[in-house]
Subunit: 394 residues, 2 copies
């Protein structure tokens, strides 16, 4: 049986077109873009061409508003720490939600511990939606920044970013959104969204690992996270990763061009898969918002199942999915997102995340459904499973 990868929210393969775009900058046009000579200029020009592509897609006024970083996580750290540091004379209050990615939550914990900051963690409803009125109510005279993710990486719930953007604008507060899961699925026009800062991650959109961007609206001040040379307008020191930057822009350009069609295709597959699971497997419930949801996300809890056992069983059969949130090394603890949604523990422990991608077909999903059903039947019957039987011997 051919393997079926349904973990696109954790990592995507680099597309062939992206690898082709990056290739000249690996060993040929390899000079340091800061170098004055012609070899450096060529690298610099490629980088600025990439920046212009990103700029256009995000509908950003100036190319100086696009900062290339080393990951989505780094962009988030730069946004939150950079803003809170730069505006420390204005205030020390940050508003976020309980279901953000760990990159936001751990950065907030750091800011509370070392940065003299006070953080409000907003509740979400049972679908994982934050209420814009809760954002407004949380604002104090000390509030500097609101950070709400565009779409949740675990449950796929899409947040009302535009409404929150109107509120932050009204109160003259900065607004950052973690849009790492949004590219290729949602509108990332920063003018429409009304955000001041926005994070993207190349490795979640068929681009290279080790690449991120931070959009920073002109006029927003940041203290750098990585100090060094004057690269990226002095906001991020270190020799620029030219092939990574070129690949990021190419990947973003491709997913944006194909977005309309691919979103339709994925939504159809997603809804088909959800319907088949819920109707075909007893004790299964969908987590997240049934409609305001990423086109590729299916997050389902199965009662009385140990998700890790199920993930390993499926893996041994060539089906790759996530238990809980996949972005944290080797951890399968109950997800903070499911906890915030009020999912009972017996369900939360048996949660799988299936995330579809460009290569996913209906017949893949049918095959996964059959295997899933029989595995769940086995687990529920025996209460256990010998993981050691996996063909990988692990």
């Amino acid at each position: 049986m051919r393997s079926v990868y349904l973990d696109y929210a954790a990592a995507t393969p680099v597309r062939k077109e992206v690898a082709v775009a990056m290739k000249p900058f690996i060993s040929d046009i390899f000079a340091n873009p800061s170098s004055v000579h012609a070899a450096g200029k060529r690298a610099h020009e490629a980088m600025e061409k990439a920046r212009a592509i990103v700029q256009k897609i995000l509908h950003v006024e100036k190319n100086s508003e696009i900062i290339f970083t080393g990951s989505g996580t780094e962009s988030i750290n730069l946004a939150l720490k950079g803003v809170m540091r730069a505006y420390q004379n204005k205030g020390n209050h940050l508003i976020t939600t309980k279901i953000e990615h760990k990159a936001v939550l751990e950065t907030c914990a750091y800011l509370e511990k070392y940065g003299g900051c006070h953080v409000t963690y907003l509740d979400v409803d049972r679908f994982g939606r934050v209420n814009p009125r809760d954002v407004e109510r949380a604002i104090t005279s000390k509030t500097v920044l609101v950070s709400v993710m565009y779409a949740n990486n675990e449950i796929g719930t899409v947040q009302p970013i535009m409404e929150i953007g109107k509120i932050t604008k009204k109160h003259h507060i900065l607004f950052h959104t973690d849009a790492c899961q949004a590219a290729g699925a949602l509108d990332i026009n920063v003018k429409h969204l009304g955000v001041d800062l926005l994070t993207l991650n190349g490795s979640k959109m068929y681009g290279p690992k080790g690449t991120g961007i931070l959009y920073v609206r002109e006029g927003v001040h940041l203290v750098p996270l990585v100090h060094g040379g004057r690269q990226e307008l002095g906001l991020r020191g270190g020799t620029e990763n030219v092939p990574g930057i070129v690949g990021f822009a190419k990947a973003l350009d491709l997913v944006e061009r194909e977005r309309g069609r691919e979103v339709n295709r994925l939504c159809t597959l997603r809804d088909y898969f959800i319907k088949r699971i819920i109707s075909g497997i007893s004790g299964s419930t969908l987590n997240g918002d049934p409609t305001n949801r990423l086109p590729n996300n299916i997050n389902v809890s199965f009662s009385g199942i140990d998700a890790e056992v199920l993930v390993k069983m499926l893996s041994a059969q060539g089906i790759y999915v996530s238990a809980g949130s996949a972005c944290t090394a080797n951890s399968v603890i109950v997800s903070h997102v499911l906890t915030a949604l009020g999912v009972p523990n017996t369900f939360a422990m048996g949660t799988l995340r299936f995330t579809l991608g460009r290569s996913t077909t209906r017949s893949d999903l049918d095959a996964v459904l059959r295997t899933l059903k029989s595995n769940i039947k086995i687990i529920r019957k025996t209460g256990t499973y010998l993981v050691g039987r996996s063909s990988r011997g692990k």
Copy 2:
């Protein structure tokens, strides 16, 4: 005429063997190494195999002492900010030198401005050497960390790291060295060096851009720079750049294996080139230490020359070298390193850095010498040069 690249200290091409090693992890073994399934495990295993290679080369006890980052600059930021934060109850004093890379100096400036730190910037002698006794004299009861670069990126001077390591050990102070220019040229066995933290940069050793490592001796505490998931033992959040990590390890392994022979070859070329320049071009002087010097570094000042003009002239003729330090975007201001050495301004303004690499041959250097001589003659005669004549029109 074929072009001659003599700017290997600014950037190196990715070696073919490195690109080959990285290839499987671009689009095939692309899963998130944190994923529990077999696809994730394969990525994880490749990453850990790479870590073991680095561990062995650095003679590090445990693989948990090797942290992969996104650049040499990031590693330096993590080392300095991470240590000063973690030991803030012990003290707030850091000792470094006036000729460090901007990654160290700008991080120190940040720590002084925002971190409540006090930094001592040691002088160097006219060859760029720091005196270990100066390090010892600067130590106070509040000293937490000493950071001295292994070899200078501009002038190539190698510092007495082992002697400094003995002093810091005696005084129970932590010692970080920026070894970004050292890999492939000098012994990077951390046991020999006696350092507690060491920074390396993949893109300076024929590895991929956007990769760095920080060696952190077991028992040394760090507050992370990039917060997020539990990757890299919780010291650096963000999906690991598996192809970058694999490529880094391969590049380091190759330069280390070839080091003995390549160092001999480069030293011979370097000394030949220095001799020919100094004897053949009037008003030229070598900067840096004549003997304790990187095998590939030639830093020469030419009196009465504007280095930027000369770099652009050479570039138009297909010869790529640096003016001053190349690691800072678009800047050709008098280098802080030459200032610290006491090089008079009229010489400092006319400084070129030639850095040799794997593909450099004696006939390359002969060709460069001829062009260099005639260009310097033209500049000194006319006092000017039309940069617009470059074939790239820039």
